[in-house]
Subunit: 323 residues, 2 copies
């Protein structure tokens, strides 16, 4: 009788633990992969044990921690800033791609290509101190709303990924963001939203200079933290090869491959596959944003974890929990 | 009687606390400055209270956390590497500044100036993967000895500064190194010696590229983390203005000025002044290394803390404690 009782207690404790972590993830192969990995590498008696100092986990942001459709949210920030600054720039009424932005002619904006996008970024992201830029970003993230979802952009983070970040940190992983997005665009809000300190957020960089006791933003690209740039950003900012990497596109492939090639430790690679046209967006091989093609083939062959958003996640966004 | 007893207990507790922190620091104005600062900004009832997330402390390395005479220790590393690699480079027998290094003709090496030094750095710090370079640095730090002190270089760290790092961390400060020295030269050993994770170590950078699943070191300077470069390095790596800055030379001035200009919080600036010709080295305004001139004048006027190594520190190096 006593043994049965102990057994029941143990069972209920195991069940309780199983339910506590990753509550928005459906049971299945992918959730099991993640939990097995974490339990194995944090088990001191396992040959795959990883010491705390080497538990480095890297996350892409756009499409991995929050949505990225119909365009990167930083692009909407630039658009909103062009509109806010238009009265100080009468020349934008005739100058492309500003003219198109002011006329909500997104087709022409997109047709302006990389060069056009760069013009928008430079006009809206530089010329001020870093502290002034922080304040602009914070104001935007608190007020601006997504064109079709009609909620604040920071509400479009993925609830299951927030739980995954928490779960990893509860197991003494240090979590980093390694994003193609702007490092200074993310830091003012991402730190609070994801629980990641600003010095663990890595991204693309605008040039800055030190002047008059301030950091001033200069209209020049310094570093693109995408594709082969991601391992380079990891090298400079972290200085250690990660053991776990989370992405959603071919732009994350180099970072995940670099992680997989860690010779010292067992690793985990996970792709978030956008399969839910109803609750989020469905896209992969042919998408103009967050294209996942080469990476998807490699992931399948190499047994990486490929999260099927539609089937693996009970909810997508935190606000769905409140319903 | 009861009150007296409580009073005595309180007093002894206060004394115990006072003795526990910074034990290698002599009582006096400078030690008091540091302790008062930390006690004030961590006191929730003080108007100068700083929330934990903003307790960012930045430390120079050469001359602030360890010695830097008669030359930067990274220079000795380069010299030792040239000697170790000489058999693979017969051309160095006639090519300067390699010839001078191999002949221990330091006068000619120094006369080769910045260009010569750069040649030595590139020949010894690049051409391999980051993991291979880490192994080389670790081997050197474990075996090489300082030319006059005859101990390992990592034994030439300052005991009072190790205590200061511990004291700040015990009070929930996040400690960073912001050094003119090479980021990849420091990380393999500094993490353990100073208790600072590799992602909190910032320094000058050699170019790298991602190739064949590895980070490969390329013979080109990417970033000099000195003078006005220090606030720039802080911006990219930390993304927050520090509240406390520790240096020893004019090369640290911009970082300390940037910290002092923090408008949100009370700040602390501390210069380590090399005044002990007997136990360490004495130098400041006219030194070829770690020159402290403009910074010393400014520090005196602006009431920064100027540590007098000879009088403020009971011991310089950890090995003196064991005597």
């Amino acid at each position: 009788m006593k043994i049965v009782l102990v057994g029941l207690l143990l069972l209920s404790s195991v069940l309780a633990t199983a339910q506590e972590v990753l509550p928005s993830w459906n049971e299945g192969k992918n959730r099991t992969n993640v939990v097995n990995y974490v339990e194995t590498v944090t088990d001191e008696n396992s040959s795959d044990f990883i010491p705390v100092k080497d538990r480095i986990a890297v996350f892409d942001n756009d499409g991995t921690l929050w949505s990225e459709q119909p365009a990167y949210f930083q692009f909407f920030f630039a658009v909103d800033r062009v509109k806010a600054l238009a009265s100080q720039h009468p020349e934008w009424k005739t100058e492309q791609p500003f003219k198109a932005v002011l006329e909500d002619d997104m087709k022409t904006v997109i047709a302006s290509g990389k060069e056009g996008l760069l013009k928008l970024i430079m006009a809206t992201h530089t010329g001020m101190s870093d502290e002034e830029f922080d304040a602009i970003v914070i104001d935007w993230i608190k007020t601006a709303k997504h064109p079709t979802k009609k909620v604040h952009y920071s509400e479009l983070v993925f609830q299951p990924m927030l739980e995954l970040l928490d779960y990893l940190r509860a197991n003494d992983f240090k979590t980093f963001i390694v994003s193609g997005g702007g490092i200074d665009f993310m830091r003012p809000w991402a730190s609070e939203v994801y629980g990641i300190p600003s010095n663990q957020i890595i991204g693309s960089k605008i040039e800055v200079k030190y002047e008059d006791k301030k950091i001033v933003r200069v209209p020049k690209v310094r570093f693109i933290d995408d594709k082969e740039g991601k391992p380079v950003g990891i090298h400079y900012h972290i200085g250690q090869r990660p053991v776990a990497a989370f992405g959603n596109s071919d732009g994350d492939f180099a970072m995940m491959e670099y992680t997989e090639a860690n010779k010292k430790y067992k690793t985990l690679q996970l792709y978030v596959h956008h399969t839910d046209a109803k609750r989020e967006w469905a896209y992969d091989r042919k998408s103009h944003i967050g294209k996942l093609d080469k990476g998807l083939d490699y992931a399948k062959i190499h047994d990486w974890t490929i999260v099927d958003m539609k089937n693996d996640w009970k909810v997508i966004y935190p606000f769905e929990l409140k319903k």
